[in-house]
Structures are given as C-alpha cells and as structure tokens.
C-alpha cells in the first residue's frame, strides 16, 4: 500500500439550507481514505447521504465543513483524475457511442488523432467493438452502461466513482457487467488505481469491495467499516460470504445506542408528531406480516433470507420492516424480524379484525394520526384544513418530508378508517363518503 492516499476525506459535513433559515444536516463526521488498489463500497439506504458524499468527491458540490483531498491536493470542482459512472447512465442521446466516449477528451482539448486512438481503445476494452456509430437509444441497458464505463475510463482517471451503476439493470445483465468489471480490474487492464462504489445492495458490496463503509441516516454518517478479505473471484454461496452478508444485515438493523441523540431515534415513536413517516402502503405492511407469519418463518424471519424470498432489495424491505416496528407489529433485532402478538393476530385475522387491530395500533403509536383525530373530534365541524397540519409538521422537518409524512398518515388512516381526507379540497374530515 502506498503512503499518500489517493483520496482523503476529513471530518466532512454537508448541510442544505431549509426554507426557515436553519440547516438540514445530511452528512456529518465523514472520514474516509482510499488507497491504491482498493475498491471501497459505500453501503446504505436511500437518504443516508452516500450519493451526496460521492458528489462531494466528484467535485460537483462543496462540503459545508471539512476537507477533501485528492493526491494531497484539496478538491475544488471536478478534478482531472476522477471520473464517474452514473446510475441512469447519463449518456447524451444525440451523440453516438464514439462521440459520447470522445466528449471527455474533447473537453480536455486533446489532439484529434489522440482522441480517436484513445476512444477506440476504451470502446475496445469495455467490449463495445462494432457499436461505435450506434446511438444510445439503439442499445440495451447493459450496453448503455458499458458506454458509461468507457466514457469514464477514456480520460484515464486514477479514481473511478460509481453511483449505483448496476441498479438500473436487470439481474442477469448486472451480474455480467459486474463480473466483466472485476475481471478487468483483477487483470489490471484499466487505467484506474482506486474505486468508490455506492450501492444499496449488500451482496453487491460484499462481492466487489475490499472495504465496506456502512452508512446510517438522519444525518448520514458512517456506522461501521467492514473489511472484506475473501479472495476474488468470490462465490455468493460460500458460507463465509453468507456470514458476512448476514453480519452486515445485523449491522444495518442494529438499534442505536442509548444517547445517540439526533440519530435514528427520529424515525421511532414516542417523540410526538415530529417524526418523519416513511412511504409504505398498508398492502406492503400486511403482505410482509403475512409472509413472516407463514411457513417456513412462522413469525420470525431472518432478513437476508426473507429478502431473497420476496425478491426485495434492502432499500425496499427496510422501510416496511421499520414501519412494522413503529406500529409495534414486529421487533427488529440482530438481523431478524419477529412479529409481536398483535402482528400475528393481524396476519391471521379477517378484514374487519385486521382493520380493528390496525386502527388501534395506529392511534396509539403514531402520534400524528392520533393528533389529527383529536383535532377532528374536538371541532364542531369535524373537519380541518391540510395546511393546518403541514404548518405544524414544518416546525420539525423539511417541506418535502412534511408532505410525505402527511401522505403516509392519510394512507394508513384511510385503511384503518380513522378519518377521511379529500385531496381536491385538501380537507380532513370524520365523514366517510357515502
């Protein structure tokens, strides 16, 4: 390992201004080093700030605090030796494959002949031979992302940044691309010296990375760092591979230590109406409860297992599991999801039974729903404007979160028949439509 790290982040912090003038902290206390020959994974759920960190490194945004250095030099603006591969490919649809690849060199004002030579070499390397004159719209998703790779590699970067590069592809294509990339990396045929990979897919992180940084949210921060020492090529079915995946699941579902103020606790009840509610439908909630209640889990499921069983990614599964926990229908601990008594009763009940249980839990454990209900009960008209509650919520959270939180409350309350909401007039009421 070299002494000067390729990349270094020291105490990096990023905050966005909120409309009320205060700052919304999205990233805090980020420390990270990238050394030559490493693939470092940033693993976390959406909203954990991993993409934000990647954009800071790419020089697309400035940190509010802290230092970022590339080869010892502070990063200000996109650096020459750092290239990026995007989740949605971000190809220019009006340029051919060749022109897309050549664009970065064109921006560097390289001699024409050199551009041509290097572009064709990159296209060749990444397996796009014969597609030079094709337009992106003529290519499949996998081929498009190959163009994305060629475009990044052609500028001969030292560091390659990858922002969930395989998540927009189907399972099979993603696997092929991963394998191809790892092969090129192992053979040292790419000009790059280090890679940072953002992903929310645990298996992908374990498959590709030498080090994994697990991110937590609110605000985004590094929860733990995991070294992956398994030899390449790695086998998903290898017990030590599975063990590592399991360990990361546990890591990601761990409850925050007491006193970790301002942390994940914000997502959990007991804090009044100020908690942000996730975008999870009642169908998903009952679906997951049914799945956990049924064989082979019988009320207690291992998260990686049920995730692969239901073909859900952690990004989709975690919010549902957490909402079950919020509503006291389940306990999340040690990488397991265990239904409570009421959770089991819900899973086995009929529609009316389910609605009764759900309504009880909703009014008890979601303070916002209880609050809205109380206001409606107290008023003679039994109705209230949406803006009244939005204003209240915005004391605690951003405009966007307030909107999402109120929507979640409405969604669950409709299922529980706790109150009614008319979207056209933006009015809450106790009456149900006749």
């Amino acid at each position: 390992m070299n002494d000067v790290p390729l990349l270094q982040c020291i105490d990096v912090r990023k905050a966005f201004p909120k409309p009320d003038g205060e700052d919304l902290l999205v990233l805090s206390g980020m420390n990270l080093e990238l050394h030559e020959g490493q693939i470092v994974g940033l693993l976390g759920r959406s909203g954990s700030g991993k993409s934000t960190l990647l954009r800071l490194i790419a020089g697309l945004a400035d940190p509010s605090d802290g230092h970022l250095t590339y080869l010892g030099q502070p990063i200000s603006g996109p650096a020459r030796g750092i290239a990026m591969v995007f989740q949605s490919f971000a190809l220019f649809p009006w340029l051919t494959v060749f022109e897309n690849v050549a664009l970065g060199l064109e921006a560097q004002r390289m001699p024409r002949a050199e551009i041509r030579k290097r572009s064709l070499a990159a296209i060749d390397l990444i397996g796009l031979d014969g597609f030079e004159s094709a337009y992106p719209r003529e290519l499949s998703g996998g081929m498009r992302q190959r163009v994305g790779f060629a475009r990044a590699l052609v500028v001969h970067p030292n560091i390659l940044l990858m922002d969930e590069p395989f998540s927009a592809l189907d399972v099979l294509t993603a696997e092929t691309l991963r394998t191809d990339f790892l092969d090129l990396w192992a053979e040292g045929r790419m000009p790059i010296k280090g890679v940072i990979l953002v992903t929310h897919n645990i298996e992908e992180a374990v498959l590709m990375c030498d080090r994994i940084l697990v991110f937590g949210s609110n605000p985004g921060r590094i929860l733990s760092e995991i070294k992956v020492t398994l030899p390449q090529p790695r086998n998903r079915l290898d017990p030590s591979f599975r063990e590592l995946v399991e360990r990361i699941y546990v890591e990601m579902t761990a409850r925050p230590a007491a006193g970790a103020g301002g942390g994940r606790a914000e997502r959990f009840p007991g804090l009044g109406i100020g908690s942000v509610l996730p975008k999870v439908s009642s169908n998903l909630l009952s679906g997951l409860m049914e799945a956990v209640a049924a064989a082979p889990f019988n009320g207690k499921a291992d998260l990686p297992e049920i995730a692969s069983d239901l073909q859900m990614e952690i990004d989709e599964l975690f919010p549902v599991a957490e909402t079950l926990q919020l509503l006291r229908f389940a306990e999340l601990e040690g990488g397991d999801l265990k239904l409570t008594e009421d959770g089991l009763a819900f899973a086995h009940g009929d529609i009316d039974e389910r609605k009764r249980i759900f309504s009880r839990h909703l009014l008890t454990y979601v303070p916002l729903v209880a609050h809205i209900r109380r206001v409606l009960d107290e008023r003679a008209s039994h109705s209230a404007r949406k803006s009244r509650f939005i204003d209240e919520l915005e004391d605690f959270m951003s405009e966007e979160d307030a909107e999402q939180t109120l929507r979640a409350a409405v969604r669950w309350a409709r299922y529980a028949e706790a109150f009614a909401y008319d979207d056209e007039n933006a009015m809450f009421s106790l009456e149900n439509p006749t």
């Binding site: 954009r55 697309l60 945004a61 603006g77 995007f86 060749f98 664009l103 560097q108 004002r109 719209r137």
Partner: protein
C-alpha cells in the same frame, strides 16, 4: 467487418442525392441573391413600380415574403438562444426576464408595428431596407416569445445526471451549451418554431403594409398583394393569393419543418425507440448527399473548434451557494424598483394624464365585449371539435389522415378568407357584431382539434377495453371516460386558441372590402382604428388594456385550470 470511420468525407464522386442537393442549394442561393437585391433600393422605387395584381408576379412576391419570414425566424432563434439562456442561467435576471416575456407574449402584434415603425424606418432613411426592418420585426414579434419560453423551460429541466456528467467530464459552459443544453431543448424548440410560423403567416398582411403617419409603404410580397386585392375588390386575385399561399406553406412544410422534425427526433431524451419515427425525403436527401454531409461535418468541427477556443473557468456551476450575494440581490431589486417607478411616472405623466377616465372605461368595456366573443367562440368551437377529435383520435387510421390536415389548417393564414365573409355580410346585410365574430377563431380552432386528437390517441387501449367490458356507453362513456381523458390536452389547445383569438381580434373585428369597412364593436377594432389613424395614445391604451386582460385571464382562469387538469386527469 467495416472499419469504423468517425469522420466521413467524400469517397465517391457523386450520388443521385448529390445532384438533388446541388439543385436545391443553387436554387436557394439564387433566391437569396434575387431578394436581397431589392433591399437597398430607395423607398421611392416602391412608388414608381407599384404592385401588380397579375398572377405572374406572385412567385416573386411569395419569395420576398418567404425571405422575410425566414429572416424573422432566424432573429427569433438568436433572441431565443440569448434571452432564454440569460433568464435561465441567472436567477437574478430570470426574476425579471420571465415576467417580461409573459407580458410581451400578450401584447397584440399590431401594437408593436405601430409603435416601432418610426424607429426602424429611421435606421435606413429613405431606403426599402428600413421598411423591411419594420416588417421583419413585426413578424419576429409574432414568433419569438413562445420559442423563448419553450427554450427557457427546456434549460430548466435538463436532467440532473446529464448536467453532472457534463460537469464531471469538465465541459466548459460553452461546450455544455452546444453539446447538452441546445440539443436537449431542440425538439420543443422546433415544435414551437412551427407554431410561430403559423402565427407569422397570419400577420404578414398587416406587417407588409407599413403606415407611418399619413404615408403608407407597401413592400412587395404576398401580404401587400392581398391588401391590394382587397382594396380593388378583386376576388380572382384573392383566389390566386390563396393558391400561392397553399403552395408556399406546403414547401415550407416539406423543405424546412419535416426535415427538422425528423432530424430532432434523435434529440429526444426518452430512450425508447419511437414506434413511428418521423421521416422526410428532404432530410434523407441531405443525409445521403456527400456534399451536405461534408458541410455538416464541417459545421460540427466548427462547434468543436469554438469549444476548444473558449476556456473553461474552473468554478463548479452546480450548487453555488448564493448567500454572500445578498447585497448584489438588493442592488438588483432596487434597480428594478427604480426602473418601474420611472416607467410608471412616464406613463402617468405622458399618457394617463392625456387620457380621460371616460375613455379608459370605454376601452375596458370594449375589451369585455371582445372577451365575451373569445369565450363564446371557444365554447362553440369546442362543442364541434371535441367530439369529432375524440372520434378521430380513437381511430389510428383516421387520425393519421386528419392530424396533418388539422396542423396544416392551423398554419394557413385564415385572414385570406376574410374577404369572403365581408362579401357575405355586405350582400345579405348581416349584423357584423355577430357575423364577424367567427373570423377570430377561424384560424385558431384547429389547435383545439389537433390537441384533442393527440389526447384521444393516448387513451390506453386497456382503459377502453375496460369501459367496453363494463358496458359503459353513450353519455356515461363521454362523461366518465372520454372527456376526462382528453381534458389536459383540451386545456392546452384551448389556451393556445384563446391567445391566438385575442391576437386575431385586431384583424378580424375590422375588415375591409374595397372602400367598405365592416366593423364589430370590440377592443380589436379599437386598436385597428387607432393604428390606421396613427393615434399613438389610443394605440398604447388599447394595447395596454388588451395585454392586461390577456395576462389576467391567463393567471386567473387558464393557468389554474391547466394545473387542475394536469393533476387530476393526466394519464401517466
């Protein structure tokens, strides 16, 4: 396999496409030279060689008019690329420039002509060129605003990841503009250019006869030809003009817009292959011809060359914190306030002081009459075209035939047909307040039709099957299925039609035939009268009130309706 060649140049001597291209190019050059020659002639020459109604002159007149339209379109493009870019790039400037654009859009075109003609004539005193400036500027005002709006919208909606890609590969702002932002905005821009063109044709008649005070200048062109035919009550000449116009519009469509539409297809960002790729023989010709291919390669190289010359200043363009610029903001706002106060003072002192309150109230009353006319006519046109449009839109074969006809009709300047209406009104002694009204929607009703057709053809087949399966028929089907599904499209069409009708009011509320004036009471005829006499105060007052009405109606009626329809009825 063939080796890949990124830069293709002349390989064979010539293809048959080359021959075609050669003819077209030489023809174009000859045409431009011919028309440009007349520009520097002294104005007096227009009087010594008066217009002639002989059909043999029509090709030349058509060429002159076409040249004006092209020049105006080019100016609009330049305006769009600069004004809209400035508005989109600088938040501070945008806060002022966007509302200005909105107001400009609602200013009736005749207003521009009468107010600016003196200025332009003074630019090239005594030469035809000055009058040409007036005409071109007038056409420009009927084309530029919506183009600028569309490009502004595009600039604001460039996908974030594409911007980030451009940024992370260190494209200079200049390169990003030409490689990312302009291509991204291109499809919407071309569509708006087509709309603009229709607007331009409509006002060509008014634009080519420039009256300054008591002297009138008639530039050789189709517009002046028609004006003269009307003055001399020559129905045959009108017929010839209509035929010529049809041919010119057809040529424009085939040689300019079809190729453009087919060409910009590649700039769409949605990456799914389009089912029906727009095609154009002219574009095929240009693409296959080595001559033109060489020219495009050269153009492309030029763009890349400029990109190399313009240096990248190394400051991140995304995510710039704007807090320390508060003081600059303050300065900007105070500048605007000063300008507004000065403008108001000027208005109060120079105009309002000279205008009696009674006059202002009278004008507002006239505006109300015109407003009533616009709304009633939009409603009537909707009653006719909505059911027809839905019927057509649900039948792909019929839609394929009707859609281009509707678009063509929208491009055809309906005012060519006005003389026929006047003839009828005079002959049967009809009430002009009622019977002149349909003229203002003659050209704009098509926007309703082709938007409805577009809307109805997007109704998913599954939704139609579901309705059929549930046995939904008759009025219930219209009420619950068809009408809600096309509502967002209808609103878009109605907004365009309404804006066009307000503008058309200036031409359609006062129509002449020989020495008979047929006049309908309304703001349009008020402005037209004022423009004829050259009463500056009345023009400003009329134009101001009309802009005010249009802006207020847009803000209070159309815009809320649009958002409501988008939110509730847009099928995604």
């Amino acid at each position: 396999m063939k080796r890949f060649e990124p830069y293709v140049f002349l390989k064979e001597l010539a293809s048959r496409w080359d021959v075609l291209a050669f003819i077209v190019v030489i023809g174009l050059i000859a045409f431009l030279g011919e028309t440009a020659r007349g520009l520097f002639a002294p104005l007096v020459q227009l009087e010594t060689t008066p217009l002639s109604l002989a059909p043999s002159h029509l090709p030349e007149y058509a060429a002159r008019t076409t040249f004006r339209m092209l020049a105006a379109l080019f100016l609009s493009l330049v305006f769009t690329l600069t004004y809209a870019t400035w508005a989109a790039k600088s938040e501070r400037a945008g806060r002022l420039l966007v509302p200005i654009l909105d107001i400009l859009q609602s200013v009736p075109i005749l207003g521009f002509i009468s107010i600016t003609s003196v200025f332009f004539l003074s630019l090239a005193p005594g030469r035809v060129l000055g009058a040409e400036f007036v005409a071109i500027f007038a056409i420009f005002t009927s084309q530029a605003w919506n183009m600028a709006f569309s490009f502004y919208q595009s600039l604001r909606t460039v996908p974030t990841e594409l911007m980030e890609a451009a940024e992370s590969f260190r494209l200079s702002p200049w390169m990003r503009f030409w490689q990312l932002e302009v291509p991204f905005g291109m499809p919407a821009l071309v569509w708006n250019m087509m709309l603009s063109m229709s607007g331009g044709w409509f006002f060509v008649v008014a634009a080519e006869s420039v009256s300054v005070g008591h002297s009138a200048v008639a530039l050789p062109g189709i517009g002046s030809y028609i004006a003269m035919a009307i003055r001399e009550k020559n129905l045959t000449a009108i017929g010839w003009a209509i035929v010529t116009m049809l041919i010119v519009i057809l040529l424009y469509d085939q040689l300019l817009f079809r190729p453009l539409v087919a060409w910009v297809d590649r700039f769409r960002v949605e990456q799914e292959p389009n089912e029906r790729v727009p095609r154009s023989w002219a574009l095929t010709m240009m693409r296959r011809s080595r001559l033109i291919q060489g020219a495009t390669v050269a153009f492309h190289a030029a763009v890349l060359w400029t990109s190399r010359v313009v240096q990248r200043t190394d400051a991140p363009l995304i995510d710039t914190p704007d807090r320390p610029r508060r003081s600059l903001d303050l300065l900007w706002v105070s500048l605007i306030v000063v300008a507004v106060v000065l403008g108001l003072w000027h208005l109060v002192a120079g105009l309002i002081a000279d205008t009696r309150l009674a006059e202002a109230i009278h004008v507002c009353g006239l505006a109300a009459i015109t407003m009533l006319r616009v709304f009633v006519l939009i409603a009537l046109a909707s009653l006719v075209w909505v059911p027809i449009g839905i019927w057509v839109g649900m039948r792909p074969r019929a839609a394929q035939i009707v859609q281009p006809i509707a678009q063509f009709m929208a491009a055809f300047p309906a005012n060519l047909l006005f003389p026929l209406a006047v003839y009828g009104i005079v002959t049967w002694k009809l009430n002009p307040d009622i019977y002149l009204s349909p003229l203002m929607i003659l050209g704009t009703q098509w926007y309703i039709l082709f938007n409805i057709i577009a809307g109805a053809s997007t109704i998913p087949a599954e939704m139609r099957y579901a309705a059929e399966n549930l046995g939904i028929k008759g009025w219930l089907w219209w009420r619950k299925v068809a009408l809600p599904a096309v509502l967002p499209f209808y609103v878009t069409g109605a907004i365009t039609a309404s804006g066009g009708s307000w503008n058309a009011a200036q031409v359609s509320e006062l129509v002449t035939w020989g020495d008979t004036d047929v006049r309908a009471r309304g703001l349009g005829s008020y402005i037209a009268d004022a423009a004829t006499v050259g009463n500056f105060h009345q023009i400003i007052l009329g134009v101001g009130v009309m802009s005010l009405f249009v802006v207020v109606i847009n803000r209070l009626f159309w815009r809320p309706l649009y958002y409501y329809a988008e939110r509730k009825y847009r099928l995604t």
